[in-house]
Symmetry: C2
Subunit: 297 residues, 2 copies
């Protein structure tokens, strides 16, 4: 039997010695020309994704494909995202599909099957979801995740400036995101592994470390998916603000880096695959070591 | 120059004499066997969608493909959804792609291009979005909609029981959804047409007519997308509760019906295309006339 997603994730993080999650964000205008012209040829997208995953698998436990950026390439992009998930899993990575889905009843079942389900689904290990429509909209994802030892990452407090608009509205002395976290906490038992961690993850923006600490209080067992590290401006220590000290060091989730590791300075104009690969490896090692240091501190 | 989406939509509703929006919800287990086995063959999905759109275009102004149900078929399903949008537009329908997307910055741009943009995008007239992440996440959709005379339908108060969990939380005397509506109202100017209606639509569940009336106060110019009519239990008069009386009768949005018109009693086991078509036509006419009566009352 497959181990619970939370256990697989925490074990992979310990093995790599770092909570680095590699964000796979295909920007058509930033994919190096050496892979072809992504704006006109989906094969360039496939080659870029494939080359990046091959390297990422050596340095990080987790891949997070950003589905919205694949979808702009139409059904070919959608298919490449699926192939990327397949390749990453075959290379030993865990895949968190960043799809931010959310809908009611049978449609939520459709999205759950599409993201977490086996072929023709993405067969991702975990999927990001939006709970604005209510807890009942999470049920199909939680049901599938519980059955197949997978995870669900709920948007709680995101890393963008506009997050304040709805998430921070005050509800009787606590913000909306805190109320959501309190509702999610009992549900986290459903995806709890032997490690004590739960695969009902919370998306907790690295740009708000205070909120991450408060969120940890409200959701003590949930692993966090932390966006906003690197290009979005948060430091490594900010990024792990919601982690807790254990005998393995500070742990409690994964920290995503997308642009800083996929498009480091010089990579976009690299002339050869070898030059490009060297830049990506350096960027991945730098991110990995910085996060490792933050978790050891 | 193409007329504003809101003007095209309200004009099409007046022409049809009914605010009926046909929901295209492909459930693999409910697609009639006469189209083939949808569980194993994406061609069955294509044939079913195509046959339904051909009839729907004669009786309704709007098609609403439910993308989550297409995605469960993988990239082939995703491609069929795009073809469905193309066919519906070619047949003169307006297309509201029900994708419930929502993300930050460049990813939101990706989703906006994927849904509203031309090939390889869906080229939909309007797309449903989730604003939990904040108003800044709507900007890429609004920018594209304003430029290309399209629409954006924001989830405000949905029709499912769990909608209460977050949307009804009390923020200083008003629920979260009302606060969201108040924030959206000034933005509605961006997509306002010559008719006075705005293509910044609000999704307002038919199962809560009281809320629909309150939402109309907060968003006087926005056209509503009303789900929950028919199979979800709301009556035609509940469904148009948020509409206003004009010289054209009651108007102010579209009312979606999915299951009641796509899978009427007997349709799933229809033996011939002619039998199936008769049942669909009857169901479409019944829904159209019921809504027409509710708007005349």
């Amino acid at each position: 039997m497959t181990a619970a997603f939370a256990d697989r994730l925490i074990e992979a993080i310990r093995r790599h010695g770092s909570p680095l999650c590699v964000g796979l964000d295909p920007f058509p205008e930033r994919i190096p020309a050496l892979f072809g012209d992504a704006a006109t040829d989906p094969a360039a997208l496939l080659k870029f994704s494939s080359a990046l995953i091959e390297i990422a698998a050596k340095h990080a436990a987790v891949l997070k494909p950003q589905l919205g950026l694949f979808e702009q390439f139409g059904e070919h992009g959608y298919a490449v995202a699926r192939l990327a998930c397949e390749q990453a899993r075959a290379a030993g990575m865990l895949v968190i599909l960043d799809a931010k889905r959310g809908d009611i009843g049978t449609t939520a079942e459709g999205y759950a099957r599409a993201s977490l389900g086996a072929h023709p689904g993405f067969n991702a290990d975990c999927v990001t979801v939006n709970a604005y429509m209510g807890l009942d909209t999470l049920t199909p994802f939680l049901d599938l995740a519980e059955r197949d030892a997978k995870g669900v990452a709920v948007l709680v407090r995101t890393s963008n400036p506009g997050a304040r608009d709805l998430q921070d509205l005050d509800v009787g002395g606590a913000p909306v995101w805190r109320r959501l976290a309190e509702m999610l906490s009992p549900l986290s038992e459903r995806l709890k592994g032997g490690s004590g961690w739960s695969g009902l993850m919370a998306v907790a923006g690295a740009t708000y470390p205070e909120e991450a600490r408060a969120l940890r209080e409200a959701m003590p067992n949930s692993l966090f998916l932390v966006p906003g590290y690197g290009a979005q401006g948060a430091s490594a220590s900010d990024a792990v603000a919601g982690f807790v000290t254990t005998r393995y060091g500070r742990e409690g989730g994964v920290v995503n880096s997308s642009r800083a590791v996929s498009y480091p300075a010089g990579a976009e104009s690299a002339k050869t695959l070898v030059d490009w690969r060297d830049l990506i490896v350096d960027a991945l090692i730098a991110a990995k070591m910085e996060l490792k240091a933050a978790c050891a501190a």
